[in-house]
Point group: C2
Chain length 268, copies 2
């Protein structure tokens, strides 16, 4: 299996080192890729089923990325074969009044995965060190404090049995233009287009800087960041599916063993 | 399409009229049934996608039934092709201290579907008019009050845009015996076996009576109860998938129309 290391943020690797158009996990043709995706989706269903049965540990997949980077599409493809029984998606939009009245991790803590669950966060607590930074709502000192709160929060999750997998879906400015245009041109995609996306797009460089700083500050040994080249949608799906499955395989999930009392049970 | 009417509880039809071994929705052979289930699962994915895009209405599927009646299996099969993006499963177990400290509808209200969502309740508020009735924790007057609270709560949901579909998975005592035995015999199913299930089984007739009374009292025109003959697993899946899809089709879901402002948008 190919290594994910070249895409893991750390002391020697930052966002700028990774090309959104990379296709390192590509296979020989479209058909081979679709087949592999299907195999990975079926395997994930099996792994998730054991996670659910085992009922001991938890998995959290965090998906971050700019508009059109493919968060919804990733969920649709990677989880195309998984039962909704043990998979929960939480989407984080602009915070509500109730959420704003509390610390920024409160709404995230409410939806952490329980034992046996796999939670997918469609955007996350990282929004709070991106939008406010770019908009100038918080200063550098507050940003640093938030990084620290995030790292501590993730340490809590990891030390209490959660495997945390963080993916930043990385697209180029050109690719985003094509995707936004596509949403405008296709009536079935109009609902996904928001005028607000253009405002965010106009701050492209600021967001790249905010993402780069955030990734560097919060890619920890307990919860590292992976940057997913996402200009090619199938490559994005293949890479995330492989990363997720490899982490689940490494958990050595086991069907729980039988209660010894069961062997004497007679059903009338 | 076959009518669901013979399985809808009302003035002229009660639980006792429906045979758990019925296979009214059966097709000519296993292969035809598996193919139809696959078609229905793919159709459901499409319908749910429009529900999500439309972002106006909500759907609630309630699954009730005794142990081994197939609630988990139904979810696994019927939603085998649906993205977890807009489908949320809530499982109701014995209430926690926090839940017991509040009225019995509180924990249900917390997880009603939001606009664009399809929620599946794996057990539900109906547990509170079954277990306490059989165990003698509440008297007839309290049971009647709870029926009324339930009907009022469901009216609130329906009048605020939720389509409520309630299915009782109906199995025979013999079939339950086989399934419990199967859980004992198959190491991969041990985790599903609970000694407590035998206690519930020993009260079989009481539960049938409690279910019959509950169905009669809470099958309303806004939220009718369907009894699903569930001794045959594929029949159960086929019937629920058809019922659910037919209700979603009847909603005449539409992709939202474009904001007129979009036609002047230029993406830089």
């Amino acid at each position: 299996m190919k290594s994910f290391k070249p895409y893991c943020i750390g002391a020697k690797r930052s966002l700028g080192d990774i090309n959104p158009a990379d296709t390192y996990f590509k296979l020989k043709n479209k058909q081979a890729e679709l087949q592999r995706l299907e195999e990975l989706a079926v395997e994930l269903d099996g792994l998730q089923n054991i996670l659910y049965a085992e009922h001991q540990r938890k998995v959290l997949l965090v998906l971050q990325g700019l508009d059109t980077s493919g968060k919804d599409g990733t969920i649709r493809w990677v989880f195309s074969r998984t039962s909704p029984l043990g998979v929960r998606v939480a989407a984080f939009k602009a915070p509500s009044e109730i959420e704003k009245a509390r610390d920024f991790l409160w709404r995230c803590h409410m939806v952490v995965p329980g034992t046996g669950e796999l939670a997918v966060w469609n955007r996350s607590h990282y929004e709070d060190v991106l939008v406010p930074v770019v908009e100038g709502w918080i200063d550098a000192a507050e940003t640093q404090r938030r990084y620290a709160h995030i790292n501590n929060f993730e340490r809590l999750l990891v030390e209490t049995g959660t495997t945390v997998i963080k993916c930043m879906l990385h697209i180029s400015k050109e690719e985003q233009k094509k995707r936004l245009q596509d949403r405008l041109d296709d009536p079935d995609k109009h609902w996904k287009f928001s005028i607000g996306d253009l405002h965010t797009r106009s701050q492209w460089d600021d967001y790249q800087r905010a993402y780069a700083a955030m990734l560097q500050a919060t890619s920890t040994s307990h919860a590292p960041w992976y940057v997913i080249p996402a200009d090619n949608k199938r490559h994005r799906n293949l890479m995330i599916a492989q990363l997720l499955n490899s982490r689940l395989r490494a958990m050595k999930l086991q069907m729980p063993s039988a209660d010894p009392a069961l062997k004497d049970v007679v059903i009338d």
